[in-house]
């Protein structure tokens, strides 16, 4: 797993420009993997705006993000540039209410549907 400077900058820009950002397979309307599907559904349910990157479109990002966060799987959620976790952690945090709490304490508006 390699992370070149270019890819690193690209990743930093993505998570810098979006308060909530999801690296996923596919996109929120057409997820290409069950785990990515769950992850984007959780964010939709929280009613937050989030940016996303389809890692299937870019092999460098797909491999680079794993080194960047020291995390071997996709999806990956970032809130205010901070790595929050993958699908399992998101699920646990959503069920316990921690995810909404985290979003709110970071000043991100949520609207639970």
């Amino acid at each position: 797993m390699e992370l070149d400077e270019n890819t690193k900058t690209q990743i930093e820009n993505m998570i810098g420009e979006n308060e909530v950002f999801l690296f996923m397979k596919g996109n929120p309307d057409f997820p290409m993997c069950g785990f990515s599907s769950v992850a984007s559904a959780i964010l939709k349910k929280c009613g937050v705006n989030f940016g996303h990157c389809n890692v299937l479109d870019d092999e460098k990002i797909r491999e680079g993000i794993k080194s960047f966060s020291n995390w071997p799987t996709i999806p990956q959620l970032y809130i205010k540039k901070e790595f929050v976790g993958g699908c399992d952690i998101m699920k646990e945090m959503a069920e316990s209410g921690e995810l909404i709490e985290l979003l709110n304490t970071r000043g991100i508006e949520t609207q639970i549907s």
Partner: protein, 77 residues
Amino acid sequence: MPIEQFKLEELIKNKFPNANILVEDLAGDNNHYSVSIESSAFNGLSRIQQHQLVYKSLDGLMDNELHAMQLKTKGTE
């Protein structure tokens, strides 16, 4: 390339002795597992750190031999 359930269990047991471990083969294909680990090794660690510890213990297995692993970790405190 899938991994057999007993091998995965053994691998985790070696890295986390004295832990409560539950491994389930979700799809019956040796490739989609659910793994729960309760271990004192997780005490004081954040969830991310706990999962990272497990991934690290699997030595690059994840994403190569193993496509999907649902992971639940818990400390003993």
